[in-house]
């Protein structure tokens, strides 16, 4: 866990080195209001070729039941998944915002800004990984809008974010609403 403080420091140092000299919050604000910040786990080339939304398995839809939160949470084109990369926990014993039993939710992760097609708001989505159980193997989904190379970890979705967890073994990824973003500029 001490590593996380170190990471904060690292991030601050990286930002201090940067030409734009943005603060942590400014960085968050900047990325949130720019292209979606892409987080979390592995690209699947087996699925990357398909259009976003091609989750590769036929399965009955799982919806919220709330007209304000539309879409099928088992499919890659569900609005909250605009920046996800990994197995969808909805298909793995968890839900869109909960890890499956037996796993541990990663305390840190990366966030994206996804627009809800019904209420038109841009929500801040946290893609926390679920860790400590082997690959779920269902509903692999990878969307790379705004993804940048590993040189910018906070914008790269190839890293395994099972960090600060008892085990770094990756099981699946969630998409949790943590707030509402301002209008996109």
């Amino acid at each position: 866990m001490a590593q996380l403080d170190k990471w904060t420091e690292t991030l601050a140092r990286g930002i201090a080195r940067s030409s734009s000299r943005r603060s942590l919050l400014a960085w968050l604000g900047g990325t949130l209001t720019g292209a979606a910040v892409l987080p979390v786990l592995p690209v699947s080339r087996a699925h990357a070729a398909g259009a976003p939304g091609a989750a590769g398995e036929a399965r009955p839809p799982i919806t919220s039941g709330d007209p304000q939160d539309p879409g099928d949470r088992t499919q890659c084109d569900y609005w909250r998944y605009c920046a996800i990369d990994g197995f969808l926990c909805t298909c793995c014993g968890g839900s869109v915002n909960a890890c499956p039993p037996g796993t541990e939710m990663s305390p840190i992760t990366w966030i994206g800004t996804c627009t809800n097609p019904v209420d038109k708001r841009a929500y801040i989505i946290s893609y926390n990984d679920c860790c400590g159980v082997s690959s779920c193997g269902h509903c692999l989904c990878n969307r790379n809008e705004g993804d940048r190379p590993p040189v910018r970890p906070q914008s790269n979705n190839d890293y395994n974010w099972c960090l600060g967890t008892e085990s770094s073994v990756y099981n699946c990824s969630t998409a949790v609403i943590v707030g509402v973003a301002p209008d996109r500029r």
């Binding site: 939160d69 298909c91 039993p101 926390n128 949790v176 209008d183």
Partner: protein, 393 residues
């Protein structure tokens, strides 16, 4: 924890800096609510009667086997979670404690290095490990999973683990006190069928069966060996029976049904056995086929997975029908055509039981066990290789 603090700092920063702008003509004046982090689902301590444990053998990565908790009545989200069952393992579901047990084998470097055999104790609600019992000697039997390689005895206080080196023995494990009590040598005999209060029966290569009684320390107290009762050449019995009460019903490769009363210290055959009978359409004939080919209902009916292409060697090929038999009447009472080629079958213990069929293409289908009506499919959304099915009692 630091991590929580960091996350909260981030969240607070977001919440204060990033306030939503009101939209014109917004039909949804309130944004969707923020959701808690962390959030990990927990299962009930007692699983509903529609649930089963599906052993995913995972042939393409045998080191990564899984005991999947499945709601057979939830086709949209049948997979509830899983516990690890590594490398030719076994999984047991307790009815008296909120625990699952896996008998497993690990290597320190995945497929090489130091070997560790363990019984792992899992919390049924959290699916987290609560502890493990090391099994000495590196001798745990590794085979395609037979439920009867790993069984309870002594009122679920102990477990029995099959060993194969290829020398055969059984390790007695005290689950309550989390320790190994000792080994029982079983030369020439395989698989474990709990008998009496504290003992088990095993079938032997010479066609006999031996019933063993254990003492309070898990040592062999007494044993009784039968005359040969098993014609392994001509009427071999599938290794996994279906239980009706304490009567274990076995089916043979050629469709004979035989019951063994396991309630006493010594297993005894019930009656004379009988045949499943034949039917049109066999080519050359109908025979049982699959992996877990026989199941029972609480009402005492037997369900057998049947292959119309029955011949020598077809017994693991799966089946296209399930035949229902009333052993009290020694008569077949129904035939249930399947949606695909089934490999393993099991019935739930619901008031109106469901027949669950794992197919050779990894799909799991659910039928009304009374009417035979197809109800729904769980798709291939549960396991890569659903090898065995265990109903929640």
């Amino acid at each position: 924890m630091r991590s929580t603090r960091l996350r909260l700092v981030l969240a607070a920063g977001l919440a204060s800096a990033l306030v939503a702008q009101p939209l014109c003509a917004q039909p949804y004046p309130t944004p969707l609510a923020e959701e808690p982090i962390p959030n990990v689902l927990v299962l009930p301590e007692r699983y509903p009667a529609s649930w089963m444990i599906v052993h995913d053998f995972n042939f393409n990565a045998l080191v990564d086997g899984r005991g999947v908790v499945v709601d057979t009545n939830a086709p949209t989200a049948p997979l509830k979670g899983w516990v690890q069952v590594a490398q030719f393992g076994n999984i047991l579901h307790a009815s008296t404690r909120p625990e699952l047990y896996s008998a497993e084998t690990y290597f320190s470097r995945l497929a090489r290095g130091e070997r560790t055999d363990v019984v792992t104790i899992w919390d049924k609600a959290t699916l987290k490990p609560k502890g493990e019992i090391l099994l000495p000697g590196g001798k745990r039997q590794q085979s395609v999973t037979y439920k009867n390689s790993f069984q309870f005895t002594n009122g679920e206080r102990w477990a029995l683990v099959s060993n194969f080196t290829p020398g055969q023995s059984v390790t007695v494990v005290d689950l309550e006190n989390r320790k190994v009590l000792g080994d029982i040598e079983l030369p020439g005999c395989a698989l474990i069928y709990p008998t009496g209060e504290r003992g088990f029966t095993t079938f032997c290569a010479d066609g006999t069966m031996t019933s063993l009684v254990l003492d309070a320390e898990g040592k062999l107290a007494s044993s009784v060996t039968s005359t040969p009762i098993h014609d392994i050449d001509n009427q071999p019995m599938f290794g996994m029976p279906a239980l009706v009460g304490r009567t274990a019903w076995f089916v043979t490769y050629r469709g004979q049904l035989r019951g063994f009363d396991l309630s006493g210290q010594v297993a005894k055959e019930v009656g004379s056995g009988f045949t499943l009978g034949g039917a049109d359409g066999g080519n050359p004939e109908w025979r049982p086929g699959g992996w877990q080919v026989i199941a029972s209902s609480a009402a005492g009916h037997l369900y057998v997975l049947m292959n119309p292409a029955g011949r020598e060697g077809s017994h693991k090929d799966g089946g296209t029908e399930v035949w229902v038999v009333d052993p009290a009447k020694k008569a077949r009472i129904a035939r249930i055509p399947l949606q695909g080629v089934g490999s393993s079958i099991e019935l739930t213990r619901e008031a109106r039981p469901r027949l669950v069929v794992a197919r050779v293409d990894s799909v799991i289908d659910v039928y009304d066990a009374v009417s035979g009506t197809f109800l729904h499919s769980l798709g291939n959304r549960v396991a890569f290789n659903p090898q065995t099915l265990t109903a929640v009692e």
